[in-house]
């Protein structure tokens, strides 16, 4: 028998199965809390910190990530307070300054209300969200990639830098990587790093008509579904992931929230990094 608890998220009374996370439950009920490192059915590590919420305990507010927070009876969660919005915006700003060349990151930044970036741009290939590492380990039991190094030197790599035989060449890592989503053809070139705002998915949006809409979902209609490479591999991934969903029903936005639309040719991370670890992987389906 499944046990249920009731909690309040942004004022809405919600009944949720015990054992699920606040983030999963919120998404299921259509309360979109921005998130990046969370992937349904994979473990949550609380790395991107975009999904932060205020958890009110005994009248005191504690800021914590909703993906790692289990639901409890009587919980009061606020996901969209001024304080949270500000913190989230600052985190997204840090991310987009680090990886301005990813459309996924740009979109997250828009969603979090980033209008200007106050740091010099860096063109990194990876935001260390760990989606790839976890899908490899948890979905495929392959552990063909992992984090190496600490702090500034942290990166994702194969063991000893060489793709091991036990890599199943499944491509899931690329699939879930936010960096492999083709950015707009616009100004995001090395050396000319600025967000022009011309493209609909870019920063100007937040100040316009689309404010407070979930970019991920709305844009899912607008630009990405067409590009989506629907193939057996993706279907396989979905089939495997669906039956073990922790929540009773899958979020209706399941697809756009888990897998980004990907086209392999011309993806940012592939074209730029000579040493991009994703390069040698040729999907075999």
């Amino acid at each position: 028998m499944r046990k249920y608890v009731t909690l309040k998220i942004d004022g809405a009374g919600i009944r949720a199965p015990k054992g699920s996370s606040v983030l999963d439950v919120a998404i299921e009920y259509g309360i979109c809390i921005p998130h990046l490192c969370h992937v349904p059915n994979l473990s949550d590590i609380g790395a991107c910190r975009l999904c932060i919420v205020e958890n009110i305990v005994n009248g005191r507010s504690k800021i914590t990530t909703s993906c790692t927070l289990g639901v409890e009876e009587g919980m009061v969660i606020l996901s969209n307070t001024e304080r949270i919005k500000k913190l989230r915006r600052n985190i997204a700003e840090l991310l987009v300054a680090q990886a301005p060349n990813s459309r996924a990151i740009q979109d997250v930044a828009v969603r979090c209300g980033v209008k200007e970036v106050r740091y010099p741009f860096r063109n990194n290939d990876c935001v260390l969200c760990g989606r790839c590492v976890r899908v490899c380990e948890e979905m495929w039991q392959a552990r063909a990639i992992g984090f190496v190094g600490r702090g500034k030197d942290r990166r994702v790599d194969f063991p000893f830098g060489v793709r091991p035989d036990f890599c199943k060449k499944c491509g899931s890592c690329i699939y879930l990587c936010p960096m492999t989503i083709t950015p707009c053809d616009g100004p995001m070139k090395p050396g000319k790093e600025y967000l022009c705002g011309k493209c609909e998915s870019q920063l100007s949006m937040a100040s316009g008509a689309m404010e407070d809409t979930c970019v991920w979902c709305e844009l899912g209609k607008g630009f990405s579904v067409h590009d989506m490479v629907i193939n057996e591999r993706l279907l396989l991934f979905m089939m495997i992931s669906m039956p073990i969903s922790p929540s009773s029903t899958l979020p209706k936005h399941f697809f756009p929230l888990t897998a980004y639309p990907v086209s392999y040719s011309g993806s940012a991370a592939h074209d730029q990094g000579e040493n991009c670890f994703l390069r040698p992987i040729v999907p075999v389906f």
Binding site: R49, G70, L128, G149
Partner: protein, 621 residues
């Protein structure tokens, strides 16, 4: 000392053993206590000990003189040091060659050797005993003072001074709940940084569901300059073990771990020997002291990163995984090591437990302030006359520590700021030094007690540079898992570097504040949550220094290389030519007996001329 170790099967056995050990000590005429701690070891105390042993053997005095090598006494800077009984004579700065003279003069004739006594730097008078030394006088050494009475490799020493009597008392008189109640009344709070009430942690762990529970001692001590945990574990390991046993009894654990920083080989060795000895006596193992309590422990060497001291990272490391923090939405007292309820405490926290049980909670609660009880050990370093380990009652003003114990700044300079709480603590200005060392008072002032580092800074310290130093340390030590800490500290460092190198813009100061708030509020673990403290506290107390760097492109303390120029004061320069010869970059020109000049395009700002000139003619602008 007994050759075959009798197993101590009951409290009565332990009391009898103690009586026997005490009477065997009385046979010695003189006692030499020589510090063999890591600090003194570095200044060759082992050679001094060997020299004494050799010399005593030569003179056939081994029977009457007891030589004991102990752990750190706290005044390492003066090491190697020794205390000679009778008379409690304190000698410091010993050399192996002094052994003969000390035996001939002091031990045999009772004459004090003036040369080896400590000189009070204020009065320039020679001081005979430890108690008269200003460094020790203002301290309240409850834990550290025990070090001089025990050889860390001898459980017998520890038992003789009353060791394991707190455990005996616990097992015979106290229920686990009573132990927790006693610790609660004592008001003991964690010494590892957070100041979390120890009794509350224990109670939560005790009530957490699960058969198997663990206690862990955190001896990872990664703060630069801190070594109080090392000194206790190295100098008095049984005290920590006894504390952990009492804690284990209270929460219902049968297994404990000591997680020791990899760089502490001597601490590992001593703790290992101590555990072995305790096992031989039956003080670790099954049915300890016949009280039906079984407990054993292991040592684990650290993963070599600062962040491994964080509770969840430490537990991951103990499990053999990468030492990285994980979200603590379920606390480790319920879901810790191997997902079992786990109590993690700092070395000093555990060491405080046996005295609380022996002397009573009221004794402990009698020291300190309303919210912070007992004594705390601090590592006093920086630009201060006396450096070392300082144990004071909580509530002692910082001023007492810096001036009375530390003797004020070196070179007659003025003290400008004091940094407390390790790399993620804060800097407090001179006018805040009346603040007591108290968890809450320091937290409110934007700093913290932390693990107990106190760094004294003088007027030649640039506070922006200090913030930069700590940010660089923390950036290096961040595990890199979460965004605010990994990228946030990096960007803060980028901004502060801009400021120190003359590229700072006024709006960057606001950005720095906003960023600091984000990193502090949204990071995953304690490292990120506290990382902005050095920046926030210097911004709060020394805003004018930031403004000078940003607006006037000037470093008031004359530290930030990009913002200073070296010049020669033509009035004062008498043309001796010392600076010209000393400058490695050939930047100084001038004829003999005429004022010299520095060619600013050649000058690399190394500062050598400044220290070489005898006439104070080099000025930094």
């Amino acid at each position: 000392m007994p050759k075959v170790k009798p197993r101590v099967k009951s409290v009565k056995d332990l009391t009898e053993l103690r009586k026997r050990l005490r009477s065997s000590v009385k046979n010695f005429k003189s006692k030499l206590t020589i510090c063999g701690g890591t600090g003194c070891h570095a200044s060759r105390s082992q050679d001094v000990i060997d020299a004494f042993k050799k010399e005593l053997k030569k003179r056939k005095l081994e029977e009457g003189v007891w030589v004991r090598a102990t752990g750190c006494h706290g005044f390492c800077e003066q090491g190697p040091l020794m205390i000679l009984e009778p008379g409690n004579i304190f000698y410091c700065g010993l050399k192996p060659g002094d052994a003969g003279e000390i035996i001939a003069e002091t031990i045999l004739k009772g004459e004090v050797i003036e040369r080896l006594l400590y000189t009070d730097p204020v009065t320039s008078k020679k001081v005979r005993t430890e108690a008269e030394i200003p460094f020790y006088r203002a301290q309240d050494r409850q834990l550290l003072a025990q070090n001089r009475h025990v050889d860390p490799c001898s459980i017998e020493d520890y038992i003789a001074i009353g060791g394991y009597s707190a455990l005996a008392k616990t097992l015979t008189e106290f229920s686990p709940e009573k132990v927790i109640e006693e610790v609660k009344i004592s008001g003991l709070r964690g010494r590892g940084g957070g100041g979390f009430p120890t009794a509350r942690k224990w109670a939560e762990c005790r009530s957490a569901p699960g058969e198997e529970k663990y206690v862990i001692c955190n001896a990872d001590e990664g703060d630069p300059g801190a070594y109080m945990d090392r000194s206790i574990l190295e100098g008095n390991p049984h005290l920590v073990i006894e504390g952990m046993m009492i804690g284990a009894w209270a929460i219902g654990a049968r297994q404990g771990y000591i997680y020791v920083r990899n760089e502490y080989p001597l601490a590992v060795k001593h703790a290992r020997i101590a555990m072995q000895q305790a096992r031989e006596y039956g003080l670790l193992g099954d049915d300890i002291l016949g009280g039906g309590f079984s407990f054993d422990m292991e040592i684990c060497r650290g993963g070599g990163a600062f962040v491994c001291g964080e509770s969840t990272a430490l537990m991951a490391s103990l499990e053999g995984k990468v030492g990285e923090p994980r979200p603590k939405d379920v606390h480790t007292v319920a879901n810790g090591l191997w997902h079992k309820p786990t109590t993690l405490n700092n070395v000093e926290t555990w060491a405080n437990v046996p005295p609380i049980i022996s002397n009573g909670a009221a004794w402990f609660a009698g020291k300190g302030t309303r919210g912070s009880k007992g004594t705390k050990i601090f590592a006093l370093t920086g630009r201060v006359k006396n450096t070392g380990l300082v144990e004071v009652a909580m509530g002692t003003p910082l001023r007492t520590i810096v001036f009375d114990i530390g003797g004020g700044a070196i070179n007659g300079r003025a003290v400008k700021a004091v940094q407390t709480g390790g790399p993620s603590g804060g800097c407090l200005p001179l006018d805040r030094l009346d603040l007591p060392v108290d968890f809450d008072a320091l937290y409110d002032a934007g700093s913290m007690v932390g693990s107990g580092g106190i760094v004294v800074m003088d007027e030649k310290t640039c506070m922006v540079d200090v913030a930069k130093y700590f940010l660089a340390f923390l950036q290096d030590e961040s595990c890199g898992k979460c965004v605010p800490c990994r990228l946030g500290i990096d960007r803060m460092l980028e901004i502060v570097t801009d400021i120190t190198e003359g590229r700072g813009r006024p709006e960057q100061i606001d950005l720095l504040k906003e960023l600091a708030d984000t990193v502090a509020s949204a990071s995953l673990c304690g490292l990120g949550k506290t990382a902005p403290n050095p920046v926030l506290s210097t911004l709060r107390y020394f805003p004018e220094e930031y403004e000078a760097h940003v607006n006037e492109k000037r470093c008031p303390a004359g530290v930030c290389r990009e913002l200073i120029e070296y010049e020669i004061d033509a009035e004062k320069c008498n043309g001796c030519g010392t600076c010209r010869r000393a400058c490695p970059y050939d930047a100084i020109k001038g004829k003999k007996k005429e004022a010299h000049v520095i060619a600013s395009h050649k000058c690399q700002k190394c500062g050598i001329c400044l220290s070489e000139c005898k006439f104070d003619s080099i000025i930094v602008t």
